[in-house]
């Protein structure tokens, strides 16, 4: 059940009024948990076994940790279990494939059978969220959650279940304790967030996908301009797709009086790669910072170790996105980019002399380049795209001007949003006109999209 489809609209039209009716009662959480499980089970009822198991195990681990001196052992059990689950379902095929390649390279004729397991939707997101609860408790940052219903609701809360944001117990679990955070503004704010996200996904991301898919499905048939434009459009497609999902998730949660964290903050206006990662998929970046980078030593143990930790974190982050070498390369290229620019970004020359627009452009170009590895079907395809960008003809790309006009409009909006004339966008008439136009466009022209969100497959 995806946010931009009719089944979700019907689901929410039933769930929301019931939730409001139960708001002040002890049945609120039970209902929210049941609704979340129904939402998740809609994808495949078998997924429920997995999320239930994951929730039960981490709940028990923390309960045991509270009474035991062997806290580290319980922590290890949780981490091994969570990473094991993710590894088994997400990386089983990848590992087998690479082992088979290795065996055949060594002349061994035996082939390990492929596991053929379906990747459960959202496993990468709720596993990290559940794991963060255990680690935070171990570190003494949060209290133990006594109610299993509340904890299971925290893990499975349907708006954020399949593609984040990856919430922390401090934020979401704490809000589930609070019954009085709901206001009328939550409804209007939630609706605003939802419509903007809906527009991003259906009108923009799915539109860009039409051109991107055409080119990236057969890159050898296209020349430099088409490959550049497809990469440029993918850069925006993935932003609209993922931030659109997040906006809708935050909107739905907000209408229910629950506030999910900001996950995207105009990332293509970043002035450095560090800045980019503080604006892109914020919930994942901060998760990796807190639970990987800092435990590895962060920047406390000298320059070499700092760079090593950065490198490892970025590569793991790349691998988190998908079980393919293209994602590893994507993470590695980002790590290398960060190596090369970290010191530069600290210099007074870069800070004071280089115009902001140049910095933004450089970051955008670098990030766009890295998306080639993220989007390409294989390393071979990525290589074909990179080489053909520089070594092919200049055939007419036939890129729709309307798509470019949309991107120009959004980019301009974001520039104004972060400028001194932001007040223009805050004018009531401007806000209303923008919203009416978005809804009208969606109603009349947008495709009846059923394209899944890109990040759901992670």
């Amino acid at each position: 059940m995806l946010f931009h489809t009719w089944p979700f609209v019907l689901f929410f039209l039933i769930v929301y009024p019931t939730y409001l009716a139960l708001k002040g009662t002890r049945f609120r959480l039970v209902f929210l948990l049941a609704a979340s499980y129904f939402f998740y089970g809609w994808f495949n009822p078998l997924y429920l076994v997995l999320i239930f198991y994951s929730s039960v195990l981490d709940y028990i681990v923390v309960a045991r940790m509270a009474k035991s001196r062997r806290r580290k052992m319980w922590l290890s059990i949780s981490i091994v279990n969570n990473i094991g689950l993710m590894g088994f379902f997400k990386y089983g095929g990848f590992v087998t494939e690479n082992l088979n390649f290795l065996l055949s390279s060594l002349g061994v004729t035996y082939t390990i059978p492929a596991p053929g397991i379906l990747l459960p939707v959202g496993i990468s997101f709720y596993t990290l969220q559940s794991m963060s609860y255990v680690i935070d408790y171990y570190r003494g940052n949060i209290e133990r959650e006594n109610s299993f219903i509340r904890y299971a609701t925290f893990v499975s809360f349907f708006p954020r279940l399949v593609a984040g944001p990856i919430e922390r117990a401090k934020n979401l679990l704490a809000q589930l304790h609070n019954k009085s955070t709901f206001s009328k503004e939550d409804i209007s704010d939630g609706l605003s967030l939802f419509i903007v996200g809906f527009f991003k996904k259906v009108a923009l991301a799915d539109y860009m996908a039409l051109y991107v898919d055409k080119v990236y499905d057969a890159p050898e048939q296209f020349q430099s301009p088409a490959l550049i434009l497809a990469t440029f459009l993918f850069c925006w497609q993935i932003y609209f797709d993922f931030s659109g999902y997040t906006d809708m998730a935050r909107g739905v949660a907000r209408m229910m009086g629950l506030r999910l964290m900001l996950n995207f903050n105009n990332p293509y206006l970043a002035t450095g790669l560090g800045d980019f990662w503080s604006r892109w998929h914020i919930s994942l970046s901060s998760w990796f910072k807190d639970y990987v980078y800092i435990p590895l030593g962060g920047n406390r143990k000298g320059t070499f170790n700092t760079y090593r930790n950065m490198f490892l974190t970025m590569v793991i982050s790349g691998l988190w996105h998908g079980a393919a070498w293209t994602f590893v390369i994507w993470g590695t290229v980002h790590a290398l980019g960060r190596f090369l620019t970290r010191e530069l970004e600290r210099t007074s020359f870069y800070k004071e002399k280089v115009p902001k627009i140049i910095k933004q452009l450089l970051v955008f170009l670098f990030v766009t380049f890295t998306w080639i590895f993220f989007r390409a079907e294989s390393i071979t395809d990525a290589w074909v795209i990179v080489t053909r960008i520089f070594n092919s003809g200049l055939a007419n790309p036939h890129c729709p001007l309307l798509a470019l006009a949309f991107i120009f409009a959004v980019w301009s909006y974001q520039f104004v949003y972060e400028s001194k004339i932001k007040w223009v966008l805050e004018l009531r008439a401007v806000r209303i006109v923008i919203l009416v136009l978005m809804v009208l466009y969606l109603s009349i022209f947008a495709a009846s999209s059923e394209q899944p969100f890109i990040y759901i497959r992670f």
Binding site: S188, L191, D275, R428
Partner: protein, 399 residues
């Protein structure tokens, strides 16, 4: 601090500091709204709602006034606009005000292999000497879809004389009857029942089914479909711009509808000349036929709306039948005729036309239509139920 210890931007810094505070106070949940200004208050949402409702209601209405239908003689809906149900609805209203009798059916009525001047309604008009029969045929509209078309888009024709064509082809196999379990693409899926009664071969996602239902009940959405079908080559705007990357979409909206052309016109080649072999059609049983059931429902809808109904049964190309299928077909026709009699519905069951007058199993060629029209006009129930009910009845031209 960001992932690698750099300063974060202002919004995120506040966010992180709130969360890292560790307290569960209300301030800890003061999470930034977002990274844009499209944030409306309740009153502003009300304003948006009013504007949008006005556009929802007025948009299609005003559009209908500016985009004129000026059908010429023997007009029929253009083939390319067969799925444009909003336009069909407008055409119904227009036909109601201009014609005495509306001829409704699938491509046999529409005239798939003939020009608009060689269709059954044309010859009926020619023989009766008056332009009183409207071609309301829609290409590919099988009975299950026709029922939906009449129910949701054909309210405007209430009270009129209706010649309703039943093409037996739709019962000639389980597949035509939509009864097979294997999914296949059939015409006009948006018009068939989306959930109940269940159509075994219709297996689209719930999302599409609900979209189809919404479109039936909200004219704004059927109007939006009209824009796509009439001006964007039956594509949504994004797909159209992929096909026409440098074209201005606004220029495509010309407010001029296509005229009723026909690219499939192929008038004088009979099925035998085309080398089509005889077939043993696996007819479905009438009592279990979905299409027959939907045809009965269509009659019920028209009756409730006060239409005077005349059913035209066939003429199917019996020359194409072989083996047991001839007998089965004849038995089926008898059963249909018996039901129509029981229900007191005027009907005509013409004998098969000469073999050379058929293009395929069910479509007559122009000579076939002319002959059929003549036979219909000579039919007594037709004269008493349709022709005489017209106050401006003119003596049929028997030439």
């Amino acid at each position: 601090m960001d992932l690698f210890g750099n300063k974060t931007n202002r919004i995120q810094k506040k966010n992180v500091s709130d969360i890292q505070d560790g307290s569960f106070s209300a301030n800890a949940f003061d999470i930034p709204f977002g990274s844009n200004c499209v944030r409306l208050s309740g009153c502003e949402w009300l304003a948006v709602g009013i504007i949008f409702l006005a556009l929802f209601y007025l948009g299609p209405m005003l559009w209908g006034r500016s985009e004129r239908i000026e059908p010429e003689l023997d007009y029929r809906l253009p083939y390319e606009l067969s799925n444009d149900y909003w336009l069909y609805n407008r055409y119904c209203r227009w036909a109601w005000s201009r014609y005495e009798t509306l001829v409704i059916g699938d491509s046999v009525i529409w005239g798939h292999y003939v020009s608009e001047h060689n269709t059954l309604p044309h010859y009926l008009n020619e023989i009766t000497g008056r332009n009183q029969f409207a071609n309301m045929g829609v290409d590919g509209i099988h009975p299950a879809a026709l029922e939906g078309l009449l129910r949701y888009y054909g309210q405007a024709i209430s009270g009129k004389n209706v010649i309703l064509h039943l093409n037996p082809l739709w019962m000639s196999s389980s597949k035509h009857d939509l009864q097979i379990e294997k999914e296949f693409h059939f015409n006009h899926p948006g018009l068939v029942p989306q959930f109940v009664p269940k159509i075994p071969c219709y297996k689209v996602p719930y999302s599409k089914r609900i979209s189809a239902i919404v479109e039936r009940y909200v004219p704004f959405f059927s109007w939006a479909s009209h824009l796509k079908i009439a001006y964007f080559e039956n594509m949504d705007l994004p797909t159209w711009t992929i096909e026409h990357p440098y074209a201005n979409p606004l220029k495509a909206v010309t407010l001029v509808l296509r005229i009723s052309g026909n690219h499939n016109q192929n008038e004088h080649i009979s099925w035998a000349e085309r080398g089509i072999a005889k077939e043993d059609f696996p007819w479905v049983r009438l009592e279990t036929s979905l299409q027959w059931n939907f045809f009965q429902r269509s009659i019920e809808i028209l009756r409730k709306r006060g239409n005077r109904i005349f059913v035209l049964l066939g003429p199917f190309n019996e020359h194409m039948l072989k083996g047991e299928s001839i007998e089965t077909y004849r038995k089926m026709k008898i059963e249909i005729a018996a039901w129509l009699q029981r229900e007191n519905i005027a009907y005509y069951e013409p004998a098969a036309l000469p073999s050379e007058f058929y293009y395929d199993a069910s479509h007559p060629l122009s000579e076939g239509y002319a002959m059929l029209a003549k036979q219909i006009c000579e039919n007594r129930p037709f004269g008493s139920s349709i022709l005489r009910s017209s106050s401006n009845f003119a003596t049929p031209n028997r030439d």
